[in-house]
Amino acid sequence: MAETATAAEYFGVLMPQILLLIFALLCPALDLWLKMRRGIAYWVIIGLTIVGVMEILALIPETQNLVPFLFWEQPPETSIFAVNAFSMVFTVVFVFVGALVAFVSPDYIKRERNHGEYYALLLIAVTGMSFVATAGDLIVIFLGLEIAGISSYALTGFQKSVKRSTEAAMKYFIVGGFSSAISLFGMSLLYGAGGTTNLTELGAMGAEYGPIVLLGIAMLIIGLGFKIAAVPFHMWAPDVYEGAPTSITALLAAASKKMGIAALFKIFIVALLAYKAQWDLAIGIIAILTMTVGNLVAIQQNSVKRMLAYSSIAQAGYILIALPVWAVYDPSSPELVRISEYAVAGGILHVITHAAMKSGAFFVILALTVRGFGENLKDFDGLSKRAPFLALAMAIFVLSLAGIPPLAGFYSKFVLFSAAIFGSSEPGGASWLVWLAIAGILNSALSLFYYARIIKSMYIHNPQSQDRIKVPPLIQAAIVIAMIVTVFIGLYPEPFLEGALEAARALNGLLPIG
């Protein structure tokens, strides 16, 4: 079988990533030769839209045959890529966030130089992320993580003249390099135990390599925990999120973190299938710690940007609930299989909704920065009178983050928490899972405290001046798109949940049979 796999077949399934790279490599050319500024952003948006549309077409059964190359047969046993609903859903999220970032960038970075590099790095980061989502092999996951990681280090330090930005990039780079090394070590331990780097084949390995795999699990949790900013590997995140250009903060929070989630899902669910009884409790505890610490410290913040950074940490904690609940998976019980899929679907749905609401919230801050405002809570005072649209958008984003119906964040949290409850009450499930739901619900209540402070500032406090704040149209467009997605998923979540379930089934489909 392996001999029959031609290069063309690999190229076909990798068309989205290849396209992204082509668009990325031409960005510096547009900058240097054609002296484009704003035009590069449009170019990036076009590229990302093409890829996004391609993946969305592939996700809808009726339109799948419009993009046949994504479904070209691959020899299963040698495959290092797994193109399926899971990779498509995640790629859509990355591309969506990347496109929104491209929308807001031209007005935000117009005083900086080297636009071509900025956009090229942005596209390369998105490509790396989508490689992680598409990976069927540890090596590909690691390469994807590094491609995205190194591009993000550079993007974080893009504002070379701003001390905060370079400091953040330095911290991000040091902690990132450290964590990458650890996760690579963890992967090599898995290779040592299983004799392969293929996820599905690793999943078939038995439970007999206890100690060595246990060390591997710990190292992978550290390495990937860094990517998703799980407690206690989160400390870099607030500094980096605060220091990075806000457009890049949105990319880190809404896309880069989701790449970590994708890698975590793939490695723990598929490759560590036999060890799920060993990692479920550890990840459950980390989930609770992450949401609690994130929310508690967020309450203390006066900088809205930093507050949202901590809120991102907390949100990753909610998503982590999906993993221990998935661990109730038992192929002999259709009901448990269904719950495991539902849990992962909840995680994926939260990835989708969080991408929209968190990037939207950062864009509101960015819009204010562009108009010369600070990022502190008092800069939001009376915003409803000066910029009613921005205030409304921010209110929608933070209410959605808090999980207030009928907004998107409510529904994805609802699926996650209800999955935990289903998992605890189903015979054969694990009764402690209910604590994940309880912790999640209590944390949601806790988080409302600081989200409400933002709304209170905007709607109750008096503005420092009465002048209207005008938002550049492109930034406004990005905020409107994020807002529409946030409201629409909340009002009509069914197709999104259906897509997330499809992705979860695709992930379960990678499991070794028997």
Binding site: I182, E208, L214, A218, A282, V293, V297, V415, E494, L497
Partner: protein, 670 residues
């Protein structure tokens, strides 16, 4: 077929609502965006008519095949949004779309002087119409309940439209809170159904024997149906929750017209009619409905006798007529129940059909009466009938159209009210003959119904004569209203005059409605349609018809001699026993007073205790939690030093703890 696009009917007005509330001010063109709403409601009206034509041709969308989409799902639980269209829906669509559209057109004239707030008015009206469409098109109780609550919300917003007036604000609150009592009963009834039957989809709940088949005891089934009807008691202002409706007059008159004729209060009647396939399984609940209906009809009519506010007279008359509808629905259902056990009978659907028929006719004449009253108020600037009088000369169109409305509601042939009211009373009388153990109750209810008919004729003409004849009692320079107001009046007047003829035109309204019951109640009861001409003959040969006709005529004549001829001075009644009676009526049997006393003393007492508990125990706990959270947050925050060495150290320490945890707790697995 157009019926497949019926889902667009509620979408149009809701789009109108979104446009008006979201677009910049300069796009609103004219009169606060009225043209958008007129366009959208007209689109809904046209589409409704097309759908109704489909229904007349025998196409319906019912049962499990009706189109639906999954709105959200959680595990095995699913909420769907679907469309359910049968004959009953068709009648509701006609009423809501026609009256809604005319009210919006009329508003252009009526609300002309409102300035900036017009935008809010049109947005809310559009939403009100849209959600009412949603309510009548719903194919399960969850969907219906969502729209039911939205209808309640819109009525709250519109009753309190003049929010700067304390009376309007409190009337809005009252409408919201009182109907909420009914809504909670409805919700409890639905929860019982969900618990036993396991679904709230019409297609399963309306299957034959659905309640008994689910293992519900008959007492539980009756309870669930009475609770369901509790929703209608609140929404349709039935005794004892009827007091909110007269107060709801504080809103603009157009809103009253909409609430009374097409939207809010009709929702309760629709709920009862819609639940018929379940109700016929619980005869006791049906008797309860009929009794509440009869009591409401009589009580509200007596209140209307002494009211001097023109809108209050109409409000009480609405409550009274709604009572008639409930009476007919209850009586008709009971007849069906009896016959389900004893075998076939013709004219089975008469009670049901007459209730719906009366609802449709009432929609037209009540919308007419309210809009005409609005025209009068617009002209003289007061609601007080004592300050009106002699307006017939200056307001010809208003006075004539209002006369038609009054004749119609009084039940004078050939106007529409006559046909349906006669049938309502006739089916009550049939229930007396057929209803077995309840027959005495229905004899009493029939007598109450006839008495109500007398009072209706009296108070309506009292109102008409006081307003349009005699000497002018105020110095306002009354003038006829603008065209945008008189045209809807004339359209509604012609409908109020002729809509009763639906009784015998074509197949006849009753045989049309019978299709709706026979398709939902199941095949074991064959609802045979009588030929319309045959029933026409029956009406004019039955002594019952003449009885109700005579009492109406007497009522009209009494009003004529007192308020036109002045043959008898009302002031003579102001003392003694009649004076006390008058006071009792004017104070609305002290029901409001009782509610207030109840609310102020008992509820307030309970609230006080709850408040203390809330303040010291709950708030204390919350504040403690907040303090703890904030302190622990501050503590954790201090570990965030900004030093990258510390961050890496944290990762190492955290990683070691993690490894330790894995070794201690998971090692034993091997």
């Amino acid at each position: 077929m157009m019926i497949d696009y019926a889902w667009l009917i509620p979408v149009f007005p809701i789009i109108g609502f979104l446009i008006i509330s979201l677009v910049p001010k300069k796009w609103l063109i004219w009169e606060g965006g009225a043209p958008y709403i007129i366009g959208m409601s007209t689109a809904s009206f046209v589409l409704s008519i097309l759908v109704i034509i489909d229904v007349l041709n025998g196409h319906t969308l019912t049962g499990p095949d009706s189109p639906r989409m999954t709105w959200l799902s959680a595990g095995s639980f699913e909420l769907t949004f679907g469309i359910w269209i049968d004959q009953l829906t068709a009648v509701m669509l006609l009423v809501v779309s026609l009256v809604g559209t005319l009210v919006v057109i009329y508003s252009v004239g009526y609300m002309h002087g409102e300035g900036e707030t017009k935008r809010r008015y049109y947005a809310e009206i559009a939403l009100f119409i849209g959600v009412m469409f949603g309510l009548v098109l719903a194919d399960n109780f969850v969907e219906m309940f969502i729209f039911w609550e939205l209808v309640g919300l819109c009525s709250y917003l519109l009753i309190g439209f003049w929010k700067h007036k304390p009376s309007a604000a409190s009337a809005a609150k009252r409408a919201f809170i009182v109907t909420r009592v009914g809504d909670i009963m409805l919700l409890s009834g639905l929860i019982i159904l969900l618990r036993y039957v396991g679904t709230l989809d019409f297609s399963e709940l309306f299957a034959e024997g659905s309640l008994e088949g689910s293992g519900m005891s008959s007492g539980m089934a009756t309870l669930s149906m009475i609770l369901l009807f509790g929703g209608a008691i609140g929404k349709s202002a039935q005794f004892p929750l009827h007091e909110w409706l007269p107060d709801a007059m504080e809103g603009p008159t157009t809103v009253s017209a909409l609430i009374h004729a097409a939207t809010m209060v009709k929702a309760g009647v629709y709920l009862v009619a819609r639940s018929y396939p379940m109700l016929v399984q619980t005869p006791d609940a049906l008797a309860f409905i009929a009794i509440i209906g009869g009591i409401t009809a009589l009580i509200a009519a007596t209140n209307a006798l002494v009211a001097v506010d023109i809108k209050r007279v109409l409000a009480y008359s609405t409550i009274s007529q709604l009572g008639y509808m409930m009476l007919a629905l209850g009586a008709g259902g009971l007849i069906i129940t009896g016959l389900m056990h004893d075998g076939g009978h013709d004219g089975l659907g008469a009670g049901y059909s007459s209730g719906i028929f009366h609802m449709m006719n009432h929609a037209f004449f009540k919308a007419l009466l309210f809009l005409a009253a609005g025209s009068v108020i617009h002209a003289v600037g007061t609601n007080d009938m004592l300050k009106m009088g002699g307006l017939g000369k200056t307001m010809k169109i208003t006075s004539i159209t209002m006369l038609i409305g009054s004749l119609s509601i009084a039940g004078i042939p050939p106007f529409s009210g006559f046909w349906s009211k006669d049938e309502v009373l006739a089916s009550t009388f049939h229930a007396f003959e057929d209803a077995g153990s309840y027959s005495t109750v229905f004899l009493i209810l029939w007598i109450m119904g006839v008495a109500t008919a007398f009072m209706t004729a009296f108070y309506m003409f009292r109102m008409w004569f006081m307003t349009f004849t005699g000497k002018q009692r105020s110095d306002a320079h009354a003038h006829e209203s603008p065209v945008s107001m008189t045209v809807p009046l004339m359209i509604l007047a012609s409908l109020a005059a002729v809509s009763g003829f639906a009784f015998f035109i074509g197949r006849g309204f009753f045989s049309f409605m019978s299709d709706s019951i026979s398709s939902t109640i199941g095949s074991s009861v064959a609802v045979e349609a009588i030929h319309p001409l045959e029933s026409l003959g029956e009406i004019f040969t039955s002594p019952l018809t003449y009885a109700s006709l005579i009492v109406s005529a007497v009522g009209l004549f009494t009003a004529y001699s007192i308020y036109y001829k002045g043959a008898f001075s009302v002031s003579r009644l102001a003392s003694g026993v009649t004076g006390k009676l008058q006071k009792l009526l004017a104070e609305r049997y002290y029901i409001s007073w009782f509610y207030d006393a109840f609310a102020y003393n008992i509820i307030y007492g309970i609230s006080l205790v709850a408040d203390i508990f809330d303040r010291y125990v709950i708030d204390g706990a919350i504040n403690g939690m907040a303090w703890l959270s904030s302190k622990s947050g501050a503590f954790i925050r201090r570990s965030q030093t900004g030093q990258v060495q510390n961050y890496v150290a944290a990762i190492v320490i955290g990683g070691c703890l993690l490894l330790l945890f894995l070794i201690v707790f998971e090692w034993g697995e091997w």
